[in-house]
Symmetry: C2
Subunit: 602 residues, 2 copies
């Protein structure tokens, strides 16, 4: 069995043909790069993944990271990822030159991370969190702190984390209680505990730099009293060596999946010697953290798409090798003397594979679109342009986080089903993807939280300005597709769904206007499902336009292009119609999920 976990040609097709990475390289910020340089970068990442990450994927599941004697023990490839990967630029690629970065488009970096995650989703998080932590320091901390921490983080010498969650608070950040006490020496003393800290500790990197939310004594209650701190595990002293900073690993969380990606329980200041340095201004911690959250959310969507992509290739490969059963003849019978068919010939198996393909590649494209918007915002030359791309990015982020995660669960489950009984067996890799991907709907804001963000903030922001901008983009695609005889039917299907969205919102908005936010948001998760199907159909229409264009010019791998068009059709015929039922549910405006006086559930 081959070990293909990604179709490199599809990845490049998405990057260059669908999302126009080459055009992006014309921007001044990226003037040092041409297509060859980017290709070299992602090819080196592919080689690195083939050689270092994929071979230990199963082994990391079978030998989970674990806590023992105050330490988390992780697979030695964490070191390879951080040091070698760091050298290759997996942490620093998209950062500014001035901060020690490579100033590459985020789109290119996203492709690189996608490959790493498809190869082995237990590893890239160590680098991803380091990147996120470094980004917070670069954006909001003073120069001294930057100098002290950033270079070692970008090189992979030091790891980084985000410390938000506390045992009593869960997703509710307004309830965090970790305490920061001011000292006269310019730093704070920290005491408190944090849980679910991904990559929270390891015995390979020399240091771990925690970006931690805490409450300064006397700060206001709730989210307005939260500040952001740098809390290194070991603090750099004047002699350029490190002193232990009283950051204690007191346990870990064993999980159903992503077992090689450690999840730690940390305790700060057990011996009253945990020093922390304020990032930016007091009480603005949550604001800073949330700016970073956008990148983290794209990263979760990216990881989920990557896992679903790898699972798709594992099922596809099996279906192309496994003979079983026979096709029905015109009499509706099967002839036992005939040679068994390969299972890929059975329509139900093809349906499952097309489901996997259309969901995982549609997700990939949406994640790339988010990265592209980020680059366009970042390189915008006018205020209007910056606003436009910032707004478009804000609009799609909850979807780019949620759809790949939710559809990913379904997609990988169908991947198991393609293998039948073998799919459930540990000797086959599908079951690992199924367990690994399940966390994606929870990480960095659950599906429920993303859905409330989408409907409660994004759809309503500035009187619907965001939705208007997004609709304009979708309508541009529809207009293009309308000019193609084969595509115009899909263009009109999508166009109808834009109207349906308006109809749904017309029904829902009065609830918000009259202040009944509880009911307005009660079905936010259903709205997310509805809206995601429309957004991914748009992604597929864009892919279809490019595929059709190339097909006519006969200048590209024909099989790949035709495959994209089939997957597009599948999505429009098997997924998009589900919006009809979902719209019905949304327009019911039921109050069945609202708690009444007397509760039959408690």
């Amino acid at each position: 069995m081959s070990n293909k976990y990604i179709d490199f040609e599809t990845l490049k097709f998405m990057l260059y043909e669908v999302h126009g990475l080459e055009k992006m390289l014309d921007k001044k910020r990226f003037e040092d790069y041409d297509k060859e340089a980017i290709d070299l970068f992602i090819e080196s990442i592919k080689e690195f993944s083939d050689k270092e990450l994929y071979p230990v994927f199963k082994e990391m599941d079978e030998n989970p990271a674990y806590y023992k004697d105050g330490k988390i023990h992780v697979h030695e490839k964490v070191k390879t990822l951080m040091y070698k990967g760091g050298e290759m630029g997996i942490i620093s690629a998209s950062f500014d030159y001035k901060d020690g970065g490579m100033q590459m488009p985020l789109l290119a970096h996203t492709a690189a991370m996608f490959i790493l995650e498809a190869a082995n989703n237990h590893l890239p998080g160590y680098a991803g969190l380091t990147q996120g932590a470094a980004e917070l320091i670069i954006h909001f901390a003073d120069e001294d702190l930057n100098k002290k921490y950033v270079p070692n983080m970008l090189s992979g010498k030091w790891g980084g984390t985000m410390c938000l969650t506390e045992p009593q608070a869960g997703s509710s950040l307004s309830d965090i209680t970790t305490k920061a006490t001011r000292t006269k020496n310019g730093y704070f003393n920290i005491s408190g505990q944090k849980i679910f800290i991904s990559a929270g500790d390891n015995h390979f990197t020399e240091n771990v730099v925690h970006l931690l939310l805490a409450r300064i004594e006397g700060a206001p209650a709730g989210t307005k009293g939260i500040s952001l701190f740098i809390v290194p595990k070991n603090r750099p002293n004047d002699t350029e060596s490190l002193d232990f900073n009283d950051v204690n690993t007191i346990g870990d969380f064993q999980k159903m999946g992503q077992k090689g990606y450690c999840t730690s329980h940390l305790s700060f200041g057990d011996n009253n010697d945990c020093r922390a340095w304020l990032v930016g201004e007091e009480n603005k911690g949550l604001y800073y953290m949330f700016l970073m959250m956008n990148a983290a959310r794209i990263a979760v969507g990216r990881g989920a798409s990557a896992i679903a992509t790898a699972a798709y290739h594992a099922s596809l490969n099996y279906a192309n090798e496994r003979p079983q059963g026979r096709k029905l003849s015109a009499s509706g019978k099967k002839n036992p003397d005939e040679k068994p068919s390969l299972i890929i010939e059975h329509p139900d198996v093809r349906r499952m594979l097309l489901l996997q393909k259309s969901m995982s590649e549609g997700s990939m494209s949406l994640v790339f679109l988010a990265a592209k918007y980020y680059d366009l915002e970042n390189t915008a030359e006018t205020k209007e342009e910056k606003y436009k791309y910032k707004t478009l990015l804000d609009m799609i982020i909850p979807v780019a986080k949620t759809y790949p995660s939710e559809a990913g669960n379904i997609s990988v489950s169908n991947g198991i089903q393609v293998l039948g009984g073998y799919g459930f067996c540990s000797d086959f890799i599908l079951q690992q993807y199924y367990r690994d991907i399940r966390i994606s709907s929870i990480y960095e804001g659950t599906t429920g939280i993303q859905s409330q963000d989408l409907l409660g903030r994004k759809i309503t922001m500035e009187n619907g300005k965001g939705l208007e901008l997004l609709s304009t983009e979708i309508i541009k695609s529809i207009s293009k597709a309308n000019k193609d005889d084969d595509l115009k039917i899909y263009a009109s299907m999508l166009s109808e769904k834009i109207d349906l969205t308006q109809k749904v919102l017309k029904k829902l908005m009065p609830l918000a206007l009259k202040g009944d936010y509880e009911r307005f948001l009660a079905d936010a998760s259903v709205f997310m499902e509805f809206f995601s199907l429309i957004i991914i159909s748009w992604s597929w229409l864009d892919i279809g336009i490019v595929a059709k264009n190339h097909l006519e010019k006969n200048n590209f791998d024909q099989k790949l292009l035709k495959g994209k068009l089939e997957a597009m059709k599948y999505f429009f015929l098997y997924e998009l119609p589900k919006t009809t039922g979902l719209a019905e549910i949304l327009m019911n405006l039921s109050d069945v999920t609202i708690k009444k006086e007397e509760d039959y559930l408690s």
Copy 2:
């Protein structure tokens, strides 16, 4: 945290109020039983589950059954289940007195197995397969074989299995190659291998009796040349002791879930000394096996409903204990000085709990309905009545197997989501249910196979006679509900969906009539999803009618009744509307999943 895995009152409500078990006891066959006797039986099962099964549930996951030195090593509770459980009647309850059974309604036995499976789904399969194997012997084997095997199986002293799958054949039984060679001594010699044999071996029961499909030398190719044999691991000799029968365990399958329920790889006749006794007539093996398959399929649906039920109670319990976040005020803001709410107060959490409740209890009710039809067929006094219930049973079996399995995956996934990050952690039980339940869509005919059975055989049988009978039953419920002011809206929703089914079939049937079976069945799985939602809505309408009736009479636990009505509403408002989108998909009559000349997937 409490360890509730089932709501015993709900179980009894379903049994007695919804499915009229008490009325069933009026039948002559069950004349020795009254409600108290049945209650005593299921209460003893509940106590047994509480004491013996539930406490080792997690431990069986953490210490899987394993193969070593030619043996499968299983948890010692397998012995308890077989011996103690056997004594209590978990194998023999529904069998005739004359065969050593207790002649109880299958409905009562189904409730008992449901409890066992909710408590610990790794164990009941050992008894369930023994029951199935014994049933095959009783129905089709001669008296000598009956005497030799059945009593020890019903008591739980000997286990039983079904040996169908072979490495090269998978679900395609026409390709099995295990060879039976006739001898002059009345028995056959067997050689061949079988895989995926659940409960295939254990070191506690004194013997394992395999019911095995094999091909007698010279038999016709395909499914018409398959015979059924009894192949004991150890054969009883004339001195009433046992001789090893050359049935060799050569490996096992380690799995993602149900780890305590062993899955074996068996090799028969490695030393040319594996004797087998023909059951019934030659070449009729598949026919016999498929009669048994009905019970096996109900059992899979039952197990899946039971797991989903247990998972629902685990989430519900968590949601009732965990404080987190605050309710939105009328201004759309949250007040951080307020005490955090319990998460059960958040509409999105309630939505997930209602999803779990409505799916798992709806599934339970459908499984009970299948058992009830079985009892009604079994006790019918006229040919017409027997035909009617046999046909109704045939109609709902693919749904009773598939819906609980597929919806079960979704339901348990929502259960994880209720817990957030903890749901993914090994210390919480939800992730185990998620892994365990995933096999249900594969066992005893995958969802794809069930769907082809539903659309390709059941819907079309006798020119739609089965569907007609089933519709008549559904319309009876609709008429009843129409008389109630609160229920009539749901009655009319269901009624519309009956019409929609006709519309869908009108579009699909011409494909079958013109011999294009491949396209007719291409979307069978989508049809299954569509049809299941209608069937489960019918189940909920029936539950609603009973609940409403009792509510008016004020003679029952009011909170339970109101909870049922809320879950019914949820199903009608959040699940049934999905059929609109699914009907659109079905009526597209797309050929996108049919393999064309040039294949973009291979």
